[in-house]
C-alpha cells in the first residue's frame, strides 16, 4: 500500500538529512576508517573522537528542525506526538527487563504508513521522549536518535506489498534492524573503553584487525540483548502488525492528510 508522506523530503531537508547522516556515519564508523598518522590517530584518540559526541546533538537538532519546518500541519504534529509518546512510553520496558523493546515496532509501522521523512523524525523523537521518561539522557542519546531515525527512514523505503507479505517484510526488517541497531550503537563507546586485548579497539591497527576484534566484542557482549530485541520486534509486528497498520491507515484516511485545501472564488 502507498505511504502517506506526512513529512515530505524536499531540496533543503533532504540535503540536511543527507549531510547529517554522512557525518553520523563517520561518528559511528571512525574507528575503522582512520589511517595511522591521521588526525584521529592514537596521539589524539582520547579527545578528537569526542568531538563527535559533542556535535552530534547539534546536528540531530538541526535535521529535526529542518524536516519539521513549515510543512507540518496540526494533524501531522498530533500524529507524530501521539506515536512518539506511545513509543517513548514503551521504552520504559527497555532497560532492566531483558531489553524488551516493543517501541521498535511502532517506529517501523509508523515509518511504513506515513513515509520515510516521518519515520526518521518519529524514530528520533521516540528515543528522545523515551530517554526523558526512563532517565536515559546521556552522550549516547544523539547516537541512539540517529540510529532510530535511520530505522524509521528505511522502514518508509520498504517495497510495496499488501496483506501477509507486508507483515513479513516489516517483521523481517524490524528484527534484522534491531540487531543492526545494537551493532551500530556499541560503536559510540567501544573505542574509548578497554576490555582486554582480544576485544578492544587498537588505534592505528589495520581495518580488518579492528573489525575482527569488534566482531568478537559484539558476539560476546551485546548480541544476546539485541537478539531479545529482534525477537520482541518480530513478535509484536507478527501479532499486532496488521491491527496497527489498519488503525494507523484508518486514522490517516479519516484525518484526510493528503487531501488538498483549495479556495475558489
Amino acid at each position: 500500500m502507498k505511504a502517506t508522506h506526512l513529512i515530505p523530503l524536499r531540496g533543503r531537508s533532504s540535503l540536511a538529512l543527507g549531510t547529517v547522516s554522512v557525518i553520523g556515519l563517520a561518528a559511528f564508523g571512525w574507528p575503522f576508517l582512520t589511517d595511522p598518522g591521521s588526525a584521529l590517530d592514537s596521539s589524539h584518540a582520547g579527545d578528537a573522537p569526542l568531538l563527535f559526541v559533542a556535535i552530534l546533538p547539534l546536528l540531530a537538532a538541526i535535521v529535526l528542525a529542518e524536516l519539521t519546518s513549515g510543512e507540518m500541519d496540526a494533524k501531522s504534529v498530533a500524529m507524530l506526538g501521539m506515536l512518539s509518546a506511545v513509543g517513548g512510553a514503551l521504552r520504559a520496558l527497555g532497560p532492566g527487563t531483558a531489553g524488551l523493546e516493543p517501541s521498535f515496532a511502532i517506529i517501523v509501522v509508523g515509518g511504513r504508513v506515513f513515509g520515510r521523512g516521518f519515520g526518521f523524525v518519529l524514530g528520533a523523537l521516540t528515543i528522545f521522549s523515551g530517554a526523558l521518561i526512563t532517565g536515559g539522557v546521556g552522550p549516547w542519546l544523539p547516537f541512539q536518535m540517529m540510529a532510530a531515525g535511520w530505522l524509521g527512514f528505511f522502514a518508509g523505503c520498504l517495497p510495496r506489498a499488501t496483506g501477509r507479505m507486508e507483515i513479513l517484510w516489516l517483521a523481517g526488517y524490524a528484527s534484522i534492524s534491531a540487531l543492526l541497531f545494537g551493532l551500530v550503537m556499541n560503536l559510540w563507546f567501544w573505542p574509548f573503553a578497554s576490555y582486554g586485548p582480544e576485544t578492544s579497539f587498537v588505534p592505528g591497527d589495520p581495518f580488518a584487525a579492528n573489525l575482527f576484534r569488534y566482531g568478537v566484542f559484539y558476539l560476546t557482549t551485546s548480541l544476546i540483548w539485541d537478539l531479545g530485541r529482534a525477537v520482541i520486534s518480530l513478535l509484536v509486528i507478527g501479532l499486532a502488525g496488521s491491527a496497527l497498520l489498519r488503525a494507523l491507515r484508518r486514522a490517516s484516511r479519516r484525518a484526510a492528510f493528503d487531501a488538498p485545501v483549495v479556495f475558489e472564488r
Binding site: A74, K75, R246, A256, V261, V262, E264
Partner: protein, 553 residues
Amino acid sequence: MIRFDHVSLTYADALKSRAPVLRDVNLSIPEGELCLVIGRTGSGKTTLLRAINGLVPHFSGGTLSGRVVVNGRDTKDHRPRDLADVVGFVGQDPLSGFVTDTVEDELAYGMESLGLPPDVMRRRVEETLDLLGLAELRNRPLTDLSAGQQQRVAIGSVLTTHPRVLVLDEPTSALDPLAAEEVLATMQRLVHDLGLTVVLAEHRLERVVQYADRVVLVPGDGRPVRDGPPTSIMQDSPIAPPVVELGRVVGWRPLPLSVRDARRRADPVRAQLAGLEAPARPSAHGAAGNEAEALSPVALTEQLVAGYNNVPVLKGISTSLRPGEVVALMGRNGSGKSTLLKTLVGMKRPTSGQIRVDGRAPATLRPSQLLRHVGLVPQVPADLLYAHTVALECEQADRDAAVSAGTTLGIFERLSPDVPAGQHPRDLSEGQRLTLALAIILAARPALVLLDEPTRGLDYTAKHRLVEILHDLAREGRCVVLATHDVELVAEVASRVLVIADGELVADGPTADIVVSSPAFAPQVAKILSPQRWLTPTDVATALAEVTEVTQL
C-alpha cells in the same frame, strides 16, 4: 456575524464525481441569534458547521468556493486557530475533545493556548465555573463526571476564550435524554444571558425548536439549503417534532412550536375528537386484549430481588412479558431499569425470587444457549462490535449463533440498506451501529429482545426506521423490552409501559393508561389533547380523516 456567500464545498474524495456536499449556500446569521441547523445524518450539517470556524476545508481538505466570513474574518485567510478567539466549537463526544485531566485545567487550556495572562485566566475560570454550575466539580477528574457534566465542561472550555459565536455539533447525541436536557438548558441560558450567537445542530427538535430564532434546513444530496423563521421552515420540513406534526394535521397557522402554543388553540380539536376512541395498541400477535392473556409468557419474574452485594437494586419485581408485546421500561436513572435488563439477559444473578426466560433461568445458561432465548442491545452498541469490517462482524455472529453463513448480513441489510459491508463499524452512523448490533442479536432468533436506551444519537429518520423494525419484531411474535427516557418513542411503539422507581414496580399497564396523565412521561400530543387518550400525530390524523368522511356522508 456569520455570512455564507455562494458557498459550495466538495471533499477531495468526491472531486472526480463533482458531487458537492454543500451547493451554493447563502446564509447570514446576525449577532445574538440562536440558529438551529437540522437535517438527516450525513446531509452535510457537520460540514456547514465546521465551515464556520474554517475546520472545513483547512482541516478536512476539499475545495471551498464562495466566501465564509465570521466577524469580518474570511476563513480563506484565517485558519481555525486564527478564529479561536471568535468561534468556540463543541463536538458530539466531549471525552474525545478533552486535552487535560481535571475540570479546572480543561477550562484553562484554551486560554493557555491563546497566551492570556494568568490573572485573566484565573478570573475567567471562576466566572465560567459559576456560569455553567460546575463549581463543585472544579477539581474532579473529567472521566469521573457524568456525560451531561462532561459536555458542560466542554462548552465551558470554549467559553473561557470569550468567543462571540458558539457552534455546537449535535452536543446531545452521545447523551441520555436527561443529560441532554441539562446541556440544552445550559445552552439556552447562554443565549439569553450572554447574547452569544449560537449555531446548533440537534436531533431533539421538541426540546429546542421553540427557542430558535432561525432554522437552517440542510436537506442533503446537494439540494439547496433553506433558512428562515422556525414557523415557516417547519411548515414543510421533512423533520419535525410531534407538536409541529399535529399542527400540520390540524392545519394550524402559524404552526405552534411548543406544547403551550398548541394547548391554547386545541379546544376545537378536542371537541372534534371528543366522541372518538383512540386506537388501542395491538398487544400480542396483532390482536388486542384478551388473546394476549392466553399466550404463555416469554419471560416471568416473581418477587425478583437483584443488585450488588447487600444493596438490592431491584426489590421484588413480579411481572410477565408475553410474545408480541413491546414493553417500555421507564423510570429515572438508577431506578433499576438496567439491572432488570441485565438480570433478564443473565448478566446478573437474582439474589432471591424467580426469573424465567423462555422457561429457563437465564443466569444458568451458557452464552451459546442463552443467545437463542434472549439478546440485549447495549446502550453503546459499539460495545458489541469488535471486528474491523461490517462483513467480518456478521460472519462472527453467524458462527456464534450457528446459523448458515450470510444470515446476519441479510438481516442487517434489511434493517439498514445501502451500507457497504467493507465499512469499519466505527465509521457507521449511530443509527447504523444500532441496527448492526440488533442484527447480530437477531441472528440467533431470540424470543426476547432487550434494548437499552436505543434512541441515543438517532436522527428522526433512523428513529422512524427503528419504530418500524420494532413493530415487525412484535408481529413476528417476539417480545421486545426497551428501557428508555424517550417518551415520544414510547408513544409511537410501546403497547405496555412498566414504571420502575427505587427498585419497585410502581405502574404497569397499557401505554395510554400510564402516560396520558403523567407530567413526566406524556408525549407532546398527549399533553396537548389530554384528558383524551391520543398519543401520536398519526393517530389523530387517522381519526380526523374518519370524522371528515362521516360528516361528508
